[in-house]
């Protein structure tokens, strides 16, 4: 029986050989055929010569989490050949370059082999060695067009768009596609039992990387200063911001309405953000776990001196340099509680690029409103992979929330100015921006303890008043941060799952699959810390809760215990931390261990 629009296709390449653009073209074509698709880069921390994989899950039901079990693998990397062949699901297909004969040790009886003489075809038709290498990739995509029944017209359209500015390259790309296609058609029965069929499964969705959406969110949210230091997997946030700024934020005279500063290190990047927001601009930085460690001293200053900061942490595998090109959620505690002393920071957890966009603008508002560091905690999987998601939306009536800032008129009107006076009894004080008024509203910003008038003090009572007010601010924030997403099971249940970020994809899939087995789980997706009442209610209304995370220590579970005094016995950690995005199968298997055997 044919399996339509439901498969995992993996490409095994050598990095630095131009495979990425060919593979992206493959995924985009499927998306344009209306089929839900979820591509993932599994890449090394290297520029050229090491194994890299590109894995595409295609699923008509719209499940976009990672799934193990590879149905078709295109293996063009001799270094990883043996492992690649072993990774193909029994009954699946292995597509390889048959320019050279495959050695007997690579033959498995339970899978199908499809040899395409990619290099041979390429060398016969292209002269320049570099082009031979590049078009070899396009040739295997052409073969897949035949093997999987992809619409050639769609992929050729993508070629046209991609080379619109260099139309000379189009015929050669067409030819490479045709070479692969014709060879497959002539030598194999096409299509295979796994095949694609146009459907209406994507609606008005877009296919975008989380980091690019984050950069756009910063532009829409009014950030004017970005200071950053290159670190995988956050660098593309900076690139996204700058690329779109060049189109959206340049005046007619060529002058930029933004400052984009590549700092000398993460410490300086955070210092620049603090200086800029202190001086009335919206500013942000993007980094990953090691960067947050370096920024920690400054984060404490911003917390204590009450300066808005927006920090994007695109998490990667830790500790230390860890697995810089693999995904994890290992910085939950180190980000929420970053810095010495009693500190805690408002944190938002996007799950999709659409949320990266929206939450980034929200973070900039929250930072100004609460005059404190606000963290957007994403991860490599979300940041650096393309995700199918709802289109980005902006409400033109939305106004930036610049928080409590006294201007010159306010300063004339009020009786006295105290930078740290809790005028409105919500823990948030009024600030002034340098240069506002000739004689009123100046104050001294410092990381030392100070009184309500920003004067240095070592008086214990005053200190306690100040840090307790910061807690009051934390309480106020609970009604401002995004509320969690609750998904109820079809039947009433006392079991629940809690998750956040990219775990959403596989967690919701597992929930559906469990439901088919008659196991019902309510779901809560955390979107922010501090937790609001919904989170507390969810925990209170369930007997057993599985907290699904992508780290070793169940960090969000600890935060739930710490912030809500939740009963540890009630919260079971379901964890995956091998650096690959968590799968529904893993979640089901690990939750299953805690469920009473089904009768």
């Amino acid at each position: 029986m044919d399996i339509i629009n439901d498969m995992v296709v993996r490409f095994a390449n050598v990095n630095g050989t131009g495979s990425a653009s060919a593979n992206n073209m493959f995924a985009k074509t499927i998306f344009r055929m209306g089929i839900p698709v979820s591509p993932k880069n599994i890449f090394p921390s290297n520029i050229q010569g090491l194994p890299t994989w590109y894995e595409v899950r295609i699923n008509k039901d719209g499940y976009l989490g990672r799934r193990t079990g590879i149905d078709l693998l295109v293996g063009v990397n001799p270094q990883s050949l043996k492992k690649d062949i072993a990774s193909v699901k029994s009954g699946g297909y292995f597509v390889y370059d048959s320019t050279r004969k495959l050695h007997a040790e690579f033959i498995r009886e339970d899978i199908n082999y499809i040899g395409i003489p990619m290099m041979k075809l390429s060398m016969e038709h292209y002269q320049v060695p570099r082009l031979q290498q590049l078009f070899k990739n396009i040739i295997y995509v052409g073969a897949l067009v035949a093997l999987l029944d992809i619409e050639m017209k769609v992929i050729k359209n993508i070629v046209d768009e991609q080379f619109a500015k260099k139309p000379k390259l189009i015929p050669n790309n067409y030819k490479a596609l045709d070479l692969g296609y014709d060879f497959a058609k002539a030598n194999y029965e096409c299509p295979l039992k796994y095949r694609l069929e146009r459907m209406d499964g994507v609606g008005d969705s877009i296919l975008i990387e989380g980091n690019e959406a984050t950069g756009l969110g910063a532009i829409y949210g009014g950030a004017t200063v970005m200071a950053w230091y290159p670190i995988t997997p956050s660098t593309s946030v900076a690139k996204g911001f700058e690329t779109h700024c060049k189109k959206l934020r340049v005046d007619a005279d060529g002058r930029k309405n933004y400052a984009f500063v590549q700092a000398e290190d993460e410490l300086a990047a955070m210092g620049m953000v603090i200086g800029a927001t202190w001086n009335g601009s919206r500013a942000f930085t993007a980094t990953s776990g090691p960067g947050v460690s370096l920024m920690s001293e400054f984060i404490g200053l911003a917390y204590f001196a009450e300066i808005p900061v927006t920090l994007v942490n695109v998490q990667r595998g830790g500790p230390s340099t860890g697995m810089p090109t693999r995904t994890q959620q290992p910085d939950i505690i180190s980000t929420i509680y970053a810095s010495h002393g009693d500190t805690k920071h408002i944190s938002l957890f996007p799950s999709t690029p659409t949320e990266c966009f929206e939450m980034m603008a929200d973070c900039l508002d929250l930072a100004d409103r609460f005059q404190t560091p606000v963290m957007m905690i994403s991860d490599l999987d979300l940041g650096m992979n393309s995700h199918m998601c709802p289109p980005l939306k902006w409400d033109d009536t939305r106004k930036y929330d610049r928080g409590k800032v006294y201007d010159a008129e306010d300063l004339e009107r009020i009786k006295e100015f105290g930078r740290y006076l809790d005028v409105d009894d919500d823990g948030i004080c009024y600030r002034t921006i340098p240069g506002t008024h000739p004689t009123k509203g100046s104050f001294f910003t410092r990381g030392t303890s100070r009184d309500e008038y920003a004067k240095y003090t070592e008086d214990g009572d005053t200190y306690v008043r100040v840090v307790n007010r910061l807690l009051k601010k934390w309480e106020t924030a609970k009604s401002y941060v995004p509320i969690p997403e609750v998904t109820e099971a079809k039947e009433k249940t006392d079991m629940g799952i809690i998750f956040f970020g990219t775990t959403r994809y596989s967690a919701l899939e597992a929930m559906d699959l469990f439901e088919k087995e008659g196991i019902y789980l309510d779901a809560l997706r955390i979107k922010a810390v501090p937790f609001n009442q919904t989170v507390e209610d969810f925990i209170n209304s369930h007997e057993q809760i599985f907290v699904i995370e992508q780290n070793r220590d169940g960090q969000m579970r600890s935060v739930l215990m710490n912030e809500l005094d939740a009963d540890p016995k009630k919260l079971t950690a379901i964890l995956n931390y091998d650096g690959m995005p968590i799968t529904a199968a893993t979640i089901m298997e690990r939750i299953g261990q805690h469920l009473p055997a089904l009768v």
């Binding site: 532009i219 002058r255 500063v261 202190w278 601009s281 000739p438 004689t439």
Partner: protein, 351 residues
């Protein structure tokens, strides 16, 4: 010792062009040791700002951590101040400057704050030609932690708490700034206001990174015999490249300078730095001659002070980055948010 500053002002006090009296540029009572060189530098900053008719709220004063970094409390209380973290004043100032290009940025640091923990940020602020005046109050020791040697403690110098430095060579911040391509480099002495005040004025008018290494004796830990940062030693060994006058653009030069031994450097805003009694073989706009002059002084055991180098063609960071002439912090939604229509086009690009 006085704890409270009188707020009474004599009605007949001289006002500057923007209507402020000198006292309007002062700050809180200093809590530094009596006789500290830093207090003299604070005084010089007050005088320079008063005489230049700087509007106090149009200046932001920033510092790191240490005795030197406490001083912004002691001057310009009508200016916003920022006492940041140790060695990180340059990055905070960079961000502040990015947000509003129209303020004057005055950074205060110390030798520990700049030559050790903050070396990286100092170097990169120079490299970016950040538009700011950067003053190092250099006392050759860590005063606030009781006098340990710093990276600018000269080889062979003796201090009260660390004794003889017979181990490490000092980092010469001025030489380093010259090598790094700084566009304004000067060295002065807290005890030489005639030189320091005009130098601060010139530094604040310079469009780019203006660096002043100001030797400022630590009376408690490093003013002893044998110290190369003591009042006595500096007085005995100071050698100036020239005398310096700062002439704001609207004032005419009234002094006659002797031809051949004097020169003027015009700044972008029309003001002028007038230098008299020039050192031989030295031209303030020639980096090479400044480096050579500095090396010669080292050989003869002199402490070379004065304006060492200025690039009259300097362009600040905003010009290098081509940012808007309007301060970024003044831009509003309509300048910043591209709106939903533009987003439609962006979405289409991802389908």
């Amino acid at each position: 010792m006085t704890y409270i500053k009188p707020t009474f002002r004599h009605p007949g006090l001289k006002k500057n062009k923007v209507g402020y009296v000198r006292a309007d540029y002062e700050g809180a009572i200093s809590t530094l040791c009596a006789g500290c060189g830093h207090d003299s530098i604070s005084g010089a900053i007050v005088q320079a700002c008063f005489e230049m008719s700087v509007e106090p709220h149009r200046l932001a004063k920033l510092s790191g951590i240490g005795c030197s970094s406490k001083t912004p409390t002691y001057f310009l209380s009508n200016s916003h101040g920022f006492n940041s973290v140790h060695g990180r004043m340059p990055s905070v100032t960079t961000g502040a400057n990015m947000a509003n290009r129209d303020l004057i940025y005055l950074g205060v640091s110390g030798d520990g704050d700049t030559a050790s923990i903050g070396m990286g940020q100092f170097v990169h602020a120079v490299r970016r030609n950040l538009n700011m005046a950067y003053i190092v109050m250099n006392n050759g020791c860590y005063g606030l932690t009781k006098g340990q040697d710093s990276a600018t403690t000269d080889f062979g110098s003796i201090s009260k708490s660390s004794g003889l430095n017979d181990s490490f060579q000092a980092i010469d911040l001025v030489g380093m700034a010259l090598e790094l391509g700084a566009t304004f480099v000067g060295r002065s002495f807290s005890g030489d206001k005639d030189q320091l005040v005009p130098m601060i004025k010139a530094a604040m008018s310079h469009p780019g990174f203006a660096f002043i290494d100001c030797i400022s004796p630590c009376v408690t830990f490093n003013n002893n015999k044998g110290s190369t940062k003591s009042y006595q030693f500096v007085r005995d060994h100071q050698e100036a490249t020239s005398t310096i006058d700062f002439v704001p653009h609207e004032e005419e030069i009234t002094v006659d300078y002797e031809a051949g031994t004097s020169t003027s450097v015009a700044l972008h805003d029309g003001s002028k730095i007038h230098l008299d009694k020039l050192s031989p073989n030295w031209d303030p706009t020639d980096r090479y001659s400044a480096v050579m002059r500095l090396q010669e002084a080292k050989l003869t055991g002199d402490i070379l002070t004065g304006l060492l180098y200025i690039d009259p063609k300097s362009r600040g960071l905003h010009d290098l980055m081509k940012t808007s002439k309007r301060p970024l912090n003044s831009l509003q939604e309509e300048d910043l948010c591209p709106g939903s229509a533009a987003l439609e086009g962006i979405n289409a690009g991802f389908r």
